[in-house]
């Protein structure tokens, strides 16, 4: 069971440093925008961050698929990462519940009119069907059916993007109604719950785009499924978290 794995990879790689540079750029853009209060420069730096990140990830993926070997260890790492993600969601849940309990007497006045649990059900259906399509995509991929895999992957991306767009649209409506992050502790924790989740959806979509590109240009073949498995595992996690987020933000939070 514990065969020592032999990495035949190169001893050096340029790409982690490029991705690392995008990390530093991201931090600098946030500092420039919020702390040094140079919004324009901050946005430019953010754009640069995305560009450098894209270059880094592309190069990394190319090197991995062209020169690297695969041990199939990715899903274990993703599972370990999910443990830490559960804690970060847990932090926000703890915050929400603390305020839900300590402010139970005035909570009713915090809940905005436009907060609609049925809308959350629609969002749930959209996101959960994307979990379903990625399973179909993965199955097609392991059969060697590249077109099927790509079709279902695109469907997943469309459903995920639809979720983000509808969700952001809802935020805009709620903000218009006067329910903002600074309205009250429900405002803060509602946007924290939904925001931390949406940021994970966006990361998942980014991963899907990388997946789609390595699938489209034929670098990833069905004998190298590790990246696929890891990405799908992460996506399922994000979808499951949505149920908890929606139940708390809309049902427990939305009831007076």
């Amino acid at each position: 069971m514990q065969e020592a794995a032999v990495h035949s990879e190169h001893e050096t790689s340029v790409w982690p440093m490029v991705v690392g540079a995008s990390v530093l750029l991201a931090a600098m853009s946030l500092l420039t925008y919020f702390h040094w209060q140079q919004p324009t420069l901050g946005v430019i730096l953010a754009g640069l961050t995305v560009a450098v990140l894209a270059i880094g990830v592309t190069g990394w993926a190319r090197e991995f698929f062209q020169h690297g070997t695969e041990e199939g260890l990715g899903p274990i790492a993703v599972a370990a990462f999910i443990i830490s993600e559960v804690i970060i969601f847990g932090t926000v849940f703890v915050t929400f519940w603390l305020y839900r309990i300590t402010h139970f007497d005035t909570w009713g006045s915090y809940v905005p009119e436009g907060l609609d649990a049925t809308f959350a059900i629609w969002l749930t259906l959209i996101l959960w069907s994307s979990s379903f399509t990625i399973v179909l995509s993965e199955r097609a991929f392991s059969r060697g059916d590249k077109n099927g895999a790509m079709t279902w992957l695109i469907a997943t991306i469309v459903l995920g993007s639809l979720f983000v767009v509808l969700h952001m649209n809802e935020w805009v409506h709620l903000v218009d109604e006067g329910f903002t992050v600074s309205s009250n502790v429900f405002g803060s924790s509602f946007y924290a719950l939904t925001g931390v989740h949406t940021s994970h959806v966006l990361v998942g979509l980014g991963i899907h785009l990388v997946l789609l590109s390595v699938l489209a240009n034929g670098m990833m073949t069905s004998d190298r499924p590790t990246f696929y498995k890891g990405a799908a595992l992460y996506w399922h996690f994000v979808d499951i978290m949505w149920l908890l987020v929606a139940a708390n933000a809309y049902l427990i939070g939305g009831s007076a």
Binding site: A5, M17, F64, L73, I88
Partner: protein
Amino acid sequence: MSEAVATQPTPWFRASFKEWIFTTDHKKIAVLYGMTSLLFFSVAGLMGMAIRFELTAPGVQFLDPDLYNYLLTGHGAVMLLWWAIAFWGAFSNFLIPLFIGARDVAFPRLNQLSYWWFFSASILVLITLIPSENIRMMWTGYPPFSLNDNAGPTAIYVLIIILIAGSTLGTGVNFITTVLRMRAKNVTLGNTNLMTHALISSIVVQLVGVPAFVGAVIMLFLDKYIGTQFFSASSGGDPVLYQHLFWFYSHPAVYVMILPAFGVFSEVLSTMSQKPIFGRVSMIWAIWGIAGLGFIVWAHHMFTSGMPDWLRIFMSFTTVLIGVPTGIKIFNWVATLHKGAIKLNTAMLFTLGGIFMFLIGGLTGIPLALPAFDIHVHDSAFVVGHFHYVLGMAVTLGAFSGVYYWYPKITGRMINEAIGKTSFWLIIVGSNLLYFPMMMAGLEGMPRRYVDYPEIQYWIDMQEIATVGGVLLMIGVIVTFIAWFKGLSGPEAGRNPWNSNSLEWRLASPPPPHNFDSYPVEVDEDWTPYKY
């Protein structure tokens, strides 16, 4: 593993600049972590010395109070995150693949990326050296003070934590996967080195704990710049929530720092007394017991913050309970020495000194776990003395001992024992003179964190002794640096100078780029690292 096929290795320090910055080799990345860590350790040490000189006499001598707050913040944050945690990152990187007989870590490129996250965080720390960017909110960053403009740039503090957390999580998933799946044949979780368990348990604690800290500082960021109400008491938020989230990680973080030191103590004691470690299985359980219990004791940092009594009693009880696995470890170490062929070299001295310092720190920690005592000495110099014994000295002596012990493996050379031993005695005398008077002044009511204090003769006496100790400690650390530097031209070490059965000593010194000669590596079924 035959001796003959070993090719003449190129030592890691002969690598070209390009190899250094783009390397995915766990040994070179370890050296990068170690060097960055030592650099910041030196800076934070100088910050500490500046604080020490300022406190030698009452009144404000030469540090402006704002600058003093910055130095206090910098000393705390850098010593904890860049030294006591990050230096073990160097050990994990260098040793874990060798302990388990692996070619490299599971994800070598991710390993390099983790270093660059760490490097980015280091750059942000350097930015805070600019006077207008000084952070003055202490390493805890408690709101509401940290949201105040006088506390310095909250954003830099938050991003430093987030970047260092990114590095930690990358390292975490990488090494957990490595240890679970890349062990050589017949190397099991039961018979691997205690140091493997020590490092991995600290990595697991970080993986579970760090996200809570990240969540807390992100909320801090949002409160300051976006206008959320998480910690704003005037709008119904709760500043104590931040403290809970912060300590949920930052208490287990002390085990992240000390558990690897325990690992070093076990390896060094066993090898230098040429005896199998006593109670090896109980040691493994103790390590994981400490790691697990560490998550249910955090509120003992907050006994004066306002919380229900049941929580105080519960956390006080669990804190005292941690003394049990820690006691098991200390008794086992002593029993390992019993009738051993003890070799009192520098590595061994540092280990014995580390256990001694931990014992003093641990025994002063037990009364601190009791609210009845703690509320009187909370925020006093007693607490400062206590945690410098455990985190300051036990961790540093453990880390130094580890470097002295693996130095022949890392560099292929032997250090000069006389210089090493001189350093040890300077450090052990200096640090006791430095921290014991702090505890005594604290028991007499001296508060921590202030730049100034009233002219109370007892406090002044204690502070003067502490400053003498601080100077000795600093000289001792410099002597250790000299020993390491001069060691590079010392005599050849050979493969196994300490006569250990652990896997890393089967390799040439320094280890060749590909570690073992052939893969998969295999050991005998009854192999143990502690056979002499």
